[in-house]
């Protein structure tokens, strides 16, 4: 493992599953053997307000927060939130907002946009496919694991296309 710390900013509004998306990635990184720090917001802020989650993983991570122009990836679930969040992205970082429309068009249930966009993200990270599957099994209730795996793979196909 090299010393690089990967930084991913997730953002959207309350109820979109922003935290769930960062949770899948966090567990996938855990199964891949990384040290992880992931910040979240709870409570009042979640009442339909802006929700943001920062995920950082690597050999050793200190700050749980990503600085301006510090994110390798930006995963944004709402176009309204993009102007505020884009400042997090590094020069040359990947902005997954570009895939948001495709993902929204591909999934029937808007509640699954998060898993699908994580699928897109997974094609850009060097985390093994097995780790992602285990992460989905860990994060979701048993009844929806299979469905989320399917949607995740759909996201992967969009990411690879």
């Amino acid at each position: 493992m090299n010393d690089k710390v990967y930084s991913i900013t997730f953002g959207g509004i309350g109820g979109q599953g922003v935290l769930k998306a960062s949770e899948i990635c966090g567990w996938a990184a855990l199964y891949a053997g990384y040290h992880i720090k992931k910040s979240e917001v709870h409570g009042m802020a979640q009442r339909g307000g802006s929700v943001e989650s920062h995920l950082r993983f690597g050999k050793q991570v200190y700050s749980p927060l990503i600085s301006t122009a510090g994110a390798d990836y930006l995963v944004c679930f709402h176009h309204d939130e993009h102007p505020r969040l884009k400042g997090f992205l590094k020069k040359g970082g990947a902005d997954l907002t570009a895939s948001l429309d495709k993902v929204e068009a591909a999934v029937d249930n808007p509640r699954c946009v998060n898993t699908c966009l994580v699928g897109v993200l997974s094609t850009m990270l060097t985390i093994d496919q097995k780790c992602w599957m285990r992460a989905i099994e860990t994060v979701f209730k048993k009844a929806v694991v299979a469905e989320n795996k399917r949607i995740f793979r759909m996201g992967r196909d969009i990411g690879l296309s």
Binding site: G14, I36, E40, H42, G43, G49, S50
Partner: protein, 528 residues
């Protein structure tokens, strides 16, 4: 091995060798306390501390409860520690204020088994009404203070806290912040320790705090503080990390993590036990670096003490005492700059679509009432377009502010508003006060049958325990009558006309009336 979290049940089952889990600071505190043999845990919900008890309640071996309020929680947990069981009280910073009465004297009584106070501060006020720095409480109450900077540390420190509590006969404060509580980190899960229970013994000199006994205990406390100061010098929680010697930081909590990102080559004195202060270690560290900085979030707690040691150092500009720190601010602080207030355009929180509070506040707005408010989701009714809540200071104040504001003799219609959980928390005493002092007017209890703002916890009026088991249900209307309310109406605010009519009728009467506006929170409905 018993596991609490749904995640880990799956995790363990699949691969016995891995015992790592991705835990929030709050979950890590709960796991750490569980592993330390915790027996009893009490709290009232409050962001950012709520998940500590929620996680503890998942361990059958722990007697966990949502208490009526923080004072009650503190006393039950302290009593358990006096009986010989390791116990824990958790709260948010403003919750600690409610528990200050027993807290101050519990420093005198000490404990019979480990007793830990976990308090979660909220720098930046993500979900709070003030930005107080509770580290001062350690100094004020003469208790030791531990400050973990990450979830992994939180898990380790809470175990240390139980040991210190028992070895030094003192409650121990573990202070976290939102950024520690709500950061997730991979942590190692371990087995639960078996701890020997203490015996319940009569010891009036220790547990009956009358002046003569308390005087003797004060002598003990001062001795204890000196011993704890000596521990603070020795403990590995106060750690020196030698760097290139050019610059050195004395720091604590998450500020340490932000600094490490920006200044990986600097020297650090990382304070994990920040009170009592480790003066000798601070002096020794200061000598090893060319330029010394003290960087801490919120108040100048370390700064003011280190000044008294006559050491030269640079601290943050006072403008940085306001708000949360972040890694980007570190170079600004080191350069001695003044904080630039940035305007961040964020989507503000608001009441959910279909929330029954919309209906209650629509009626209040139509009446053009002056509304004394309280703490809960409904506090959001202060924002446009509703703008129909006009005060919010603390829990229970919806009832008492109503009384106080009436004293001004204004001709305006005045209504006091409180939630179901907050009414039980501390509104009920205000209602008794109003009845006793012959106050008239209308108190509106917004009963959505849950503690909604913190994520839907149970309370005495829901009739379910922290583990969702049925229990005695507090009947709010009976309680209000018993307190001395002349009229008690229960009505669904979604019946817009009838609701407005009742309010209008009661406000024009010369009586003390309680209107219970009852409609369950949309979020709990969905969960069922």
């Amino acid at each position: 091995m018993e596991t609490a979290h749904g995640y880990n049940k799956g995790l363990m089952a699949k691969k016995k060798t891995t015992r790592k889990a991705l835990l929030s600071g709050n979950e890590a505190l709960a796991y750490g306390a569980y592993e330390a043999g915790l027996g009893v845990a009490c709290a009232y919900p409050g962001t950012p501390s709520t998940e500590i008890l929620e996680t503890l309640a998942k361990f059958p071996a722990i007697d966990a409860q949502w208490s009526v309020n923080e004072k009650v929680a503190y006393e039950v947990a302290l009593g358990a520690a006096v009986s010989g069981v390791r116990s824990l009280f958790a709260c948010k910073h403003v919750g600690l204020n409610v528990a200050m009465d027993p807290l101050m004297t519990s420093s005198y009584t000490g404990v019979n088994a480990g007793f830990v106070i976990v308090v979660a501060d909220d720098p930046g006020m993500h979900s709070s009404q003030n930005e107080q720095d509770t580290r001062w409480v350690a100094l004020y109450s003469k208790m030791p203070l531990l400050e973990p900077s990450s979830p992994a540390e939180a898990k380790e420190y809470i175990k240390e806290a139980f040991k210190i509590s028992e070895r030094y006969d003192t409650p121990v404060m573990v202070r976290v912040t939102t950024r520690v509580s709500h950061t997730k980190e991979d942590v190692l899960l371990k087995k639960r320790e078996t701890v020997k229970k203490g015996k319940l013994e009569k010891n009036a000199a220790k547990y009956v705090m009358v002046p003569g006994h308390a005087y003797q205990r004060h002598i003990f406390i001062e001795k204890r503080l000196r011993k704890l100061a000596s521990l603070s010098e020795r403990t590995r929680l106060n750690r020196i990390e030698s760097g290139d010697g050019k610059i050195g930081f004395i720091t604590s909590s998450v500020a340490y993590q932000y600094l490490k990102d920006r200044y990986p080559d600097a020297s650090y004195l990382k304070l994990g036990m920040s009170y009592p202060f480790c003066d000798e270690k601070i002096r020794a560290f200061a000598k090893t670096v060319k330029k010394l900085f003290v960087v801490e979030e919120l108040d100048p707690f370390l700064e003011e003490h280190i000044k008294t040691l006559g050491i030269k150092f640079t601290a943050k500009d006072p403008s940085f005492r306001i708000g949360e720190l972040n890694p980007e601010l570190m170079p600004e602080i080191v350069a001695g700059r003044v904080k630039k207030e940035k305007k961040v355009v964020k989507r503000k929180p608001r009441l959910c679509a279909g929330c029954p509070h919309w209906a209650s506040f629509a009626a209040l707005k139509k009446m053009d009432a002056f509304v004394a408010g309280d703490i809960g989701c409904y506090t959001l009714a202060c924002l446009p377009p509703t703008s129909a809540l006009h005060t919010c200071v603390c829990m229970g104040a919806g009832v008492t502010f109503h009384e106080g504001i009436r004293k001004g003799g204004s001709k305006k219609k005045i209504v006091g508003v409180v939630g179901d959980s907050t009414f039980v928390h501390s509104g009920v005493t205000g209602l008794i006060n109003a009845a006793y002092n012959q106050v008239k007017g209308v108190i509106l209890i917004l009963d959505n049958s849950t503690t909604a703002m913190t994520g839907g916890q149970q309370n005495p009026a829901t009739g379910l325990t922290i583990r969702n088991e049925p229990t005695k249900k507090l009947i709010l209307e009976d309680l209000c009558r018993a307190c001395g309310a002349d009229n008690v109406d229960v009505i669904d605010p979604m019946n817009v006309k009838a609701f407005a009519a009742i309010l209008e009728k009661r406000i024009n009467e010369d009586a003390l009336s309680v209107v219970i506006s009852r409609h369950p929170c949309r979020l709990i409905k969905r969960r069922v």
